[in-house]
Symmetry: C2
Subunit: 194 residues, 2 copies
């Protein structure tokens, strides 16, 4: 790897990324996205005990105008519902032709991507990696660590909006589950089934 004139092993302390830099805070609990998980029995068992927080999103607030940007940081916690890892809800942008940039600050997992036409892609996502979500691609992040929070910074056009409906209705084509102690990418048996 090319060295860039920075001392080897230079580090960014995540504690420096103070949440008071962000106007918005959204906490997502299991009950809000429970229908997205494959194993509904396992989900029900968890919900009888508690309604765990799957992730926290801290985000900026800007006018929804062309040329403006929104940015923030997501803390996706480690855990599983049955064999399926904790994940974000996942969405298309309401203005479909808008991109998003993700930069992973900590942890490891995957990004799962789908187009409205049914194309699918799964990208590994770990500390230091930047992922570009091109226009038209729905996106979901999955944390495959057993103990570490997946932390990522994101930026997208402020007028992009979110469309959660299509994903809620048909799901993503691929699921990320634990098999034999390791993450596995499998076909979603319920894809397209409402």
């Amino acid at each position: 790897m090319i060295k860039l004139g920075i001392p080897p092993g230079s580090t960014l302390d995540l504690d420096d990324l103070a949440p008071d830099q962000f106007e918005e805070h959204v906490t997502r609990r299991l009950s809000e996205i429970v229908s997205h998980f494959r194993d509904q029995e396992a989900a029900d068992l968890v919900l009888k005990q508690e309604d765990p927080v799957l992730y926290d999103v801290y985000a900026s607030e800007r006018p929804a105008l062309d040329g403006e940007l929104l940015y923030g940081v997501t803390y996706l916690y480690p855990g599983k519902i049955g064999s399926e890892y904790f994940m974000t809800k996942g969405h298309f942008h309401a203005i479909l032709e808008t991109a998003e940039v993700y930069y992973c600050l900590q942890g490891e997992g995957f990004m799962v991507l789908d187009t409205p036409e049914g194309d699918s892609s799964v990208e590994s996502f770990s500390r230091g990696k930047i992922l570009y979500v091109p226009p038209r691609w729905a996106h979901r992040v999955v944390n495959t660590s057993n103990d570490q929070t997946l932390v990522f910074f994101f930026v997208y056009p402020a007028n992009a909006g979110h469309d959660y409906e299509l994903i809620a209705a048909r799901g993503f084509r691929k699921l990320i589950v634990e098999e034999d102690g390791h993450p596995a990418i499998i076909d979603n048996p319920h894809w397209l089934c409402e």
Copy 2:
């Protein structure tokens, strides 16, 4: 400060941010932006010896379409020309009504901002801090450390473009110089003078 469920002192290793994630690489040397510095005699003396690299920019490549984004990382090295710290060239966006997001990964310095109408702002910029450059604001980053490279991640609309002309002609209203061993924000004596 609120704790976010991540272990205190969690760190991001900047070495993980591999430059092979970026298609573009621009190296800016003193000779390319020498007219921006206040002390032309000091600059001439430096250039007689060498033409130092002030910064390296690694950036993505995407179509210049509305909804697409560009992203990258800048390594702005420590140093001074006379008493004025190393800085980026600085620019407006060609499409003026486009924003930019900066996220500082290492180091310390300032962002200097101007509008076409002559409004001016100077923001401190250090590790962990996110700066939002609203539409219409020209921006330049200045590294005020004596020994540390200022490293920052940036994202902006892919159709924004750059307009370096106005800044090259009139400069920014404020300069960042060393006075008594510390950074000082002073009026640019040559502002508006071509």
